[in-house]
Amino acid sequence: MSERPRFIRAQRMTIMNAMLALVILIVVLQLWLLTATTNAYLGGDMGVALPAAIASCVCLGLNLGLLRYLFRLD
């Protein structure tokens, strides 16, 4: 069983800021994806929605991974 890394407060704060920046970046990417896909769907383009949904799920997976690390950090 591996011991969890212990960080001092300043280090945890730095890690938290980095995670926050990453999560926001990914969420903005997802927002762009959703906007573009909605536009394509309303325009009758049905070929975009499935790949975009897969990409969005990958983004969610990344975010959940970061969240898991966040829980381990505390």
Partner: protein, 187 residues
């Protein structure tokens, strides 16, 4: 002994420093009575923000999945059957009538532009879904809600807030009857 030293070092590293960096004993009474750990407070608020952003990410993924599902369902519907919507001499040149195609759809607008020429579009403006009205003499369709204009021949936006073309109803005209044969969604 070394362990105790490490622990005390860790404690001092995790202690909050008051904003003016003076010792706690030198702080005003209110701060001594209600000491707020500002750094911890900041840490917790950012952690909560990360959680909220991940929740937002999940909501976006669900929305994206819903769009994908709708796309698959629409693909499976296949081609629409032809439906007679008007007699050729039912409308004067420049005249218009509404119809539903397919049954139960939003209202569509059929406009006669010449002796044998017809165009048909979805009647909902692509801006905020107000009904558009034909302005045949200007060669346009007009949305009176926000002064949007569409070209009568193509259905594409020419002025005002709308950005997308009106969905076009494909028509087939024989000697006596006008048939709707399909719907063309456009960006």
């Amino acid at each position: 002994m070394i362990e105790r030293g490490t622990q005390s070092q860790r404690l001092s590293e995790n202690q909050s420093v008051p904003p003016d960096a003076r010792a706690l004993a030198l702080q005003p009474r209110w701060r001594r009575d209600f000491p707020i750990d500002w750094e911890q407070d900041e840490y917790v608020s950012r952690r909560e923000l990360v959680k909220f952003m991940v929740f937002t990410s999940a909501a976006f993924a669900v929305g994206q999945g819903w769009l994908a599902l709708k796309s698959l369902l629409r693909r499976q519907q296949g081609a629409l059957p032809a439906l007679p919507i008007a007699a050729v001499d039912e409308l004067p040149i420049g005249g218009a009538k509404t119809f539903h195609y397919p049954e139960g759809s939003t209202p569509r607008l059929l406009i006669r532009t010449g002796p044998r020429a017809f165009v048909a579009y979805d009647q909902q403006c692509t801006h905020l879904l107000c009904p558009v009205v034909p302005a045949v003499e200007k060669g346009c369709l007009h949305c009176p809600c926000h002064n949007g204009w569409f070209d009568l021949q193509t259905g594409r936006p020419v002025a005002g807030p709308p950005q997308r073309a009106l969905p076009k109803i494909l028509l087939d005209v024989d000697q006596t009857t006008v048939y709707a044969t399909g719907v063309e969604e456009r960006t």
